[in-house]
């Protein structure tokens, strides 16, 4: 018997396409002697599909044809607790399910996939799943909440301020003064809850701040403004493990074409001509990066230590990528953000760390199973029915 793994990807996020690439890379890497993999693709319209044709990147060019050749499904839990891929709609005759899965493997970046929402659904299905749980996913996604926790744990973060778009509309001057007084220009303006670099821009003065906030509010109601490090180096570190054991990967240094990594840099560099899916995939790898990052051993170790601490403080599980900013003027390290489902699952950082992608996916599944069996030991409900334990008990209660 092979363990049946449903790799969930696509989703309702600006990083939909990136997710497809990451997922197909992961599926490709998984040990097929041990795992039987079901691709579970969530379309931008929230429909779920499975099928062989979803494994081929070139099939994604024509969405209509893609959906026609795939089987629309829903994940359902039966009375015995098994999770089936049930055909949607259910046929009146013949087999109602396409298969059954033992483990879920979410590879969705950004909203609805990386932020705890999908994880909550999987929790209700009571199926072991790879990666962060609901709380750590949600915390990792909201830059403000994340900063609060990091600050509490003395993990270095850049000075920032945050506000809602309604507050901005009500009194932008006050916010502008606060930004200038507390952070000083230039600053970076970000939507609080997006995983990618979409909606992020810099502002060197109030006019630019207005523009940047306008852009960010298109993506989120909660906005973060951070001090911008002008002479900076961007370094990423991946962490693999859980609350008990975590290891850090080698570091990568990201070479942005602009002062910071924009969405284009991150996922579309060289991808202007990526009409064919393969191009997008290459684009992913060809982002300018140096591995390992060209920084001192001391600083590397410092970053790895902070990365592991951040990972465990948030209660992460599986593989995350933690992005750092080094202020080269002060030679200081700051956490920028955490990606709880990083692009390509950061396999390119683990490969040079001595773990190939196949091993990485295997460890991720094992971590998922570990969390499940630890959770099964905890008590979630009380066996006895309080309504029936005492005769007349209801009468005795206050009403």
């Amino acid at each position: 018997m092979k363990t049946r793994v449903g790799v969930i990807f696509g989703g309702m996020s600006v990083e939909h396409e990136v997710s497809v690439i990451s997922a197909l890379q992961a599926i490709n890497a998984m040990n097929k002697d041990k795992y039987e993999v079901y691709p579970l693709y969530i379309s931008k319209d929230r429909d779920w599909y499975t099928g062989e044709n979803l494994l081929e990147i070139s099939n994604y060019q024509d969405q209509k044809e893609l959906f026609e050749n795939a089987q629309k499904i829903q994940l359902v839990r039966d009375s015995e607790g098994k999770v089936h891929l049930q055909k949607d709609p259910q046929p009146k005759f013949g087999k109602k399910t396409v298969g059954e899965i033992d483990v879920a493997f979410p590879v969705i970046h950004g909203t609805y996939g990386e932020d705890g929402i999908l994880q909550g659904f999987l929790e209700l299905l009571n199926i072991p799943y790879v990666g962060c749980d609901v709380l750590s996913s949600a915390t990792g996604m909201d830059k403000v909440v994340m900063k609060h926790i990091f600050r509490d744990w003395d993990i270095p973060i850049l000075e920032y301020t945050s506000f809602y778009s309604s507050q901005w509309l009500a009194d932008r001057d006050a916010i502008g003064q606060k930004v200038e007084a507390e952070l000083g220009y230039p600053v970076i303006v970000k939507p609080a809850n997006l995983g990618s670099s979409v909606g992020i821009s810099k502002a060197a003065n109030f006019e630019e701040l207005e523009e940047a906030v306008e852009l960010a509010t298109e993506f989120a109601t909660k906005i973060v403004v951070e001090r911008m490090v002008t002479n900076m180096k961007e370094v990423n570190c991946s962490v693999l493990g859980d609350y008990e054991n975590a290891e850090a990967s080698v570091l990568e240094e990201v070479l942005g074409s602009d002062e910071f990594l924009s969405y284009q840099d991150k996922y579309q560099s060289g991808g202007g001509s990526s009409k064919d899916g393969g191009g997008a995939s290459k684009g992913m790898e060809s982002t300018n990066r140096i591995i390992p990052a060209e920084i001192s051993d001391e600083q590397t170790e410092e970053i790895q230590t902070i990365a592991k601490k951040a990972f465990q403080v948030l209660g992460c599980n599986g593989v995350s990528r933690i992005d750092f900013i080094i202020d080269q003027d002060q030679n200081k390290v700051y956490i920028n953000e955490i990606n709880t489902i990083p692009g390509s699952l950061s396999f390119y950082l683990w490969d040079p760390s001595g773990k190939d992608f196949t091993q990485l996916t295997d460890e991720l599944v094992k971590l998922a199973l570990k969390r499940m069996r630890e959770r099964e030991k905890l008590m979630f409900s009380i066996d006895s029915n309080l309504f029936s334990s005492h005769s007349g008990g209801l009468k005795g209660s206050k009403n």
Partner: protein
């Protein structure tokens, strides 16, 4: 008129009969669907199977026979209807579970009853012999507890073929899991706790499936495998229960365990086993069916285990507390208010000190068996410290419950035995508080039953401040034992049933007390 009355009679009879049928199928289920054990139950509970009020219906039947047809039939209709509406549901510890098998059996029984109903209809209405019809219905009703035996027998071939299909499926599922380690556990006592401990220890590192609560038959193991075995499981722990010879062998043939644990051999279920030698042979099936590269794990402190020589030559590992030259030995056992601490020495290896919330030497044995398997599967002695510390007490097995007011319950109510009962009483004896024992005594011990119960009472007399015996008749041996030990009568209470016993306990609870609930209290034995 007579015809209408006869139809009404058949209807009322059907209602009363259906109630009886449900009760009888429940008892059959409690007796593992085995006709012979069910018959034994009937023998022991004749007053339940054949109630006096059933015979009362012979009076109106006689009236019908004597020619007072209308009056007789009306009385019969009223009588059956009364039996249906008035008979109360008894308090039941283990409720009837409507499994597909029970449903199939009820269907067959319903058909059998329908045939009788039709026959009596033909006799009474077509052949115009209402008296015969009434007597036929009455006889079937009085013998109602046997109807389910007929249904059970008729259904046997069907059940067999259904089960065989399941068995084969389960066996191939296990064999297709190449990396799965199958561990079998049996023993007269301690197998359930050992199963839980082993699961707790192993699951710190491995994905473990174990048979749930009392799924310790071939069918139970099959259900577990078919329902819950996942491809990613590293270990499958199968508890194997035996009530007669061959019971263990048939589970072994299904799961093909590589590791077999034998926790103890004692005089349990002697009613079917007859002799301790048969128990030995049966329990040793788990060791003798091991493959050459298999591993037997045995309790060296158990004389009945050691007095038998297994016929096969696979590797064996022994554990114990009192024996020397064992592979895993526990020593330096100390009790504290939070549980107990002991040190385990591995032969030719290290040693480690463990703390647990559990009480009693028997729990050390169970833990030792778990540690032996853990070592075999590559866990270090040190790694097992945390899971052992966190091991929850097994429900109803010397389970120290949270205090409620003055009362702390030490619950050992699940299927107990002489050794276990003695140990539980010993643990109770070590408590600082006022010590109360509540027990209905032990059953299914064969000819030694009287003696063993008496011994338990005499032992308890020296340890307890108050003893509540549940059931006047069946605790006679205990009462005799207490008398012989000179235990003050003022410190004894013989309760009608468990509820009465618990009421007495609450009455006594004017000070801090620990109450040991000892032995099984199922509803089919509280006579």
């Amino acid at each position: 008129m007579i015809q209408i009355l006869l139809i009404a009679l058949i209807a009322a009879w059907g209602l009363a009969m259906s109630k009886k049928l449900m009760r009888s199928v429940h008892m059959l289920q409690l007796n593992s669907y085995r006709n012979e054990r069910y018959m034994r139950w009937i023998n022991r509970n004749t007053r339940k199977a054949f109630q006096v009020r059933d015979y009362l219906l012979a009076i109106p039947a006689a009236l019908v026979l004597l020619g007072f047809e209308t009056v007789g039939l009306v009385l019969l209709v009223v009588g059956f209807a009364a039996l249906f509406f008035m008979s109360k549901e008894e308090q039941q510890k283990k409720k009837l579970v409507l499994t597909p098998r029970v449903k199939r059996m009820l269907t067959t029984a319903a058909i059998v009853l329908a045939i009788f109903a039709a026959a009596s209809g033909v006799v009474g209405i077509v052949a115009e012999q209402p008296a015969l019809a009434a007597i036929l219905l009455l006889i079937v009703y009085v013998l109602g507890f046997f109807v389910i035996i007929v249904a059970n027998t008729v259904n046997r071939p069907i059940e067999k073929s259904i089960n065989n299909k399941y068995f084969n499926e389960a066996e191939s599922m296990i064999q297709e899991s190449r990396d799965l380690n199958v561990v079998g556990i049996t023993g007269s006592y301690g197998k359930t706790s050992t199963k839980h401990f082993l699961q707790a220890i192993l699951s710190s590192e491995l994905n473990v499936l174990m048979t749930p609560e009392s799924y310790n038959t071939k069918l139970g193991v099959t259900k577990t495998v078919r329902g819950y075995l996942k491809p990613y499981h590293d270990v499958f722990i199968a508890e194997m229960g035996a009530k007669q010879k061959g019971d263990i062998q048939e589970i072994c043939d299904l799961v093909h365990q590589r590791i077999g644990i034998l926790t103890s051999i004692g005089p349990q279920h002697l009613e079917t086993f007859k002799t301790i030698e048969t128990v030995q042979k049966t329990k040793y099936e788990i060791i003798e069916s091991l493959p050459e590269d298999g591993l037997g794990i045995l309790n060296k402190d158990d004389e009945n285990i050691m007095s038998y020589t297994p016929k096969n030559q696979c590797r064996k590992v022994y554990y114990g507390i009192h024996s020397d030259d064992v592979d895993f030995k526990a020593k330096d056992i100390t009790y504290t208010s939070s549980g107990m601490t002991f040190t385990v020495e591995e032969k030719g290896g290290g040693s480690e000190t463990y703390t647990t919330k559990l009480l009693g030497e028997h729990n050390i044995y169970n833990t030792l068996a778990g540690i032996a398997v853990g070592r075999e599967l590559g866990l270090s002695l040190e790694k097992m410290k945390t899971p052992i510390k966190n091991m929850p007490p097994v429900k109803h097995r010397l389970e120290l419950k949270k205090p409620q007011g003055n009362i702390t319950i030490l619950d050992d109510s699940f299927n107990s035995n002489p050794k276990g009962a003695r140990m539980a009483v010993d643990v109770l004896g070590q408590m600082d508080e006022y010590k109360v024992l509540i027990t209905p005594g032990m059953i299914e011990l064969g000819e030694k039953e009287y003696e063993l119960n008496k011994e338990l009472a005499m032992h308890a007399a020296g340890k307890c401040d108050f003893i509540i015996l549940v059931g006047e008749r069946q605790t006679k041996p205990l009462q005799d034992g207490l008398k012989e030990a000179g235990y003050p009568e003022a410190q004894t209470y013989v309760a009608r049933d468990l509820n009465d016993g618990l009421a007495k306990m609450h009455e006594l609870a004017t000070r801090k007390m620990v109450v040991l609930l000892e032995n099984d209290l199922p509803d089919n034995y509280n006579g």
